[in-house]
Amino acid sequence: MPPLGFTLQAFTNLGFWSGVLVVAGIYAVVALGLQLNVGYTGILNFGQAAFMAVGGYSMAILVLEGGLSFWLALPAAVLITMAFGVLVGLPSLRLRADYFAIVTLAMAEVVRLAAQNARDLTGGTKGLYCEFEGVNQTCFDDSWKSVSGWILDRFESFWSDPEPLLPLLIVIWATVALGLVVLRRLQGTPWGRVLRAIREDEDAARALGKNTVLHKLQSLAISAVLGAFAGFFLALFLATIHPDDYQPIVTFFAFGVLVLGGLASYSGVVVGAILLWTLLEGTRFVELPISEEKTAALRFAIVGAVLIGLMAFRPQGLFGKREEMVLGRGGPR
């Protein structure tokens, strides 16, 4: 291999693109929630990773410990995450924007550390995947695997070697599309306009008789539900649930997706997710003469540079409108 040799083979590899699109789709789901919170309501939710963790963990725990079927565990986990979002929001949404950001970040760390330390329930640092009872083995994604296999079988009649990630890819992007349509519709309703009013000037919205805390709470709860879905998808993709997969980094990367696409633009989120993850995964496949560790460092540096560059030169991102970047203009107050 020549020094600095680029092989672009990866870009014609179906497996590569499937991987990129799965991760991008998961981040698109996460960032759709952030867009609702940050872009349209003006609440700086930095705890999105916690909602993913609560969703993923409660689903897996309900299946493995509660003996619930996977299909029942999903809606139950969604409800649990929603309730958790309300629980977090109730006391903290009255705080000013920067405090709310710090509280949600701290809350996300509490969730992650709790998952790491409550070993009996969450498996601690071993994570969760399967339970063994004698020779019987139950994994949280058994039901999903059979559905996924069924979908792949349908493809096999006309495609000799279907991509194994394809079923997950379809489900994730169907969710993204659904989320996009629903959120856009919501934004046009009177409810959606109140959210925007809160973002522009909360005091004015309150003076007009709107219950701003309730609206912010609803915004956060919807975002928590999207977080839960992203948590399910991540668990199914990785086939394990581990505390390290819910680091604050996840939320920060989702913010990268958000501002790359642009604030106050739902379709921007989708483009941002695909762009950012093509860029990031691209560094993994382009053969640079550097170690694995340096590649990992490079990915971080890219996200950091994207954040700095965008905020400095194009705060509205690719598709956002500049006049919508009003959040916290002139500092908190």
Binding site: V110, L307, L327
Partner: protein, 330 residues
């Protein structure tokens, strides 16, 4: 709530509202007394001593962060990675070049102060000129944090490294044990904090910093060279962060996540102390460090980090303006 006679809740609130620092002191004293009664004086004293080491590091980080936060209204998420940067600069001098630890401490403080100045010059000042909002600055500081951390990971990798310090010998007095390195951390940290406290309290520069913290525009109108004061603020913040990083690295070890893991407790100290109040941040940092160690008397040690975050969340929700903060801060 009945309006005829003041209820207990109101009485408590008026007490808390009037003298929050006194009330907080009372609560802490009560907790300590309960712990002494339950666990014995020796254990409480020993954990307090352990907590003081941790608290010194929190206090160092928090004083710098609160100065910047108070004056520039900048939630600097990169502060944690400033700590990491300082620790690795010390590693360069102390281990790679084989020089004594004190030289490493000076080098780390100087280079991290330089990093702070650089970030002000290249990022924060131009952004202020553009009238950037809270979210913009916040995300930019996260970006800077990523760039610093990945730079460290690029050069030093992610393996755990240690500074050349004595981790075996300890000093015993009054039946309490403290490691020599821990003692050094507390002494150096508290001395520097004391010096910074003197500067902020009594020097003209300190007075100007407080004026800027009250109102940047007003200070500018009053003829203060705000640019210079802001540069000095970054100098302090950077140097203190660098020192906190080295001391933290000396206590445990060095890894690229070192600073980020300290960031949230440091934020907790800043907010508890009231944003922009360096003395508040100092005391809150020390108390938080001790409180985290006291928690090990009650719950299993691996929960103690979680305890620190829970304390932050509760504190913010109960009293968002902080214990030493003024009403205007909310």
């Amino acid at each position: 709530m009945g309006s005829e006679e003041p209820s207990h809740g109101e009485a408590l609130r008026s007490l808390l509202g009037d003298r929050p620092a006194l009330a907080a002191f009372g609560v802490v004293a009560l907790i300590v007394l309960v712990l002494i009664a339950a666990e014995g004086l020796h254990d409480v004293a020993q954990t307090s001593l352990n907590g003081l080491t941790l608290g010194t590091i929190y206090a160092l980080g928090a004083v710098g962060l609160t100065l910047v936060y108070g004056i520039l209204k900048l939630v600097n998420f990169a502060q944690g990675d400033f700590l990491t940067f300082g620790a690795y600069m010390a590693y360069l001098v102390n281990v790679t070049w084989g020089m004594p630890l004190f030289a490493a401490i000076f080098f780390a403080m100087a280079t991290t102060a330089l990093l702070g100045l650089l970030s002000e010059r290249l990022m924060w000042r131009p952004m202020r000129g553009k009238g950037a909002g809270l979210l913009q600055l916040l995300l930019m500081s996260i970006g800077l944090a990523f760039v610093i951390r990945s730079g460290i990971q690029w050069f030093w990798g992610s393996e755990i490294r240690t500074l050349d310090v004595n981790i075996t010998d300890s000093v015993t007095f009054l039946g309490l044990r403290i490691g020599e390195t821990e003692l050094m951390v507390v002494v150096v940290g508290l001395l520097v904090l004391f010096a910074v406290g003197l500067v902020v309290r009594f020097s003209l520069l300190g007075k100007r910093m407080r004026a800027l913290s009250d109102s940047l525009d007003l200070a500018e109108t009053a003829g203060i060279d705000t640019r210079r004061v802001i540069l000095f603020t970054w100098l302090f913040a950077g140097a203190l962060a660098g020192l906190a990083g080295v001391l933290s690295g000396a206590l445990t070890n060095l890894r690229p996540e070192l600073g980020f893991e300290l960031l949230l407790p440091i934020f907790a100290a800043v907010i508890l102390g009231g944003i922009g109040n360096p003395f508040g941040a100092l005391s809150a940092g020390l108390v938080l460090g001790m409180a985290i160690e006291w928690s090990t008397l009650v719950v299993e040690p691996h929960w103690k980090v979680t305890f620190g975050f829970v304390a932050l969340i509760i504190a913010l929700i109960v009293r968002p303006k902080g214990i030493f903060g003024q009403a205007k801060a909310v």
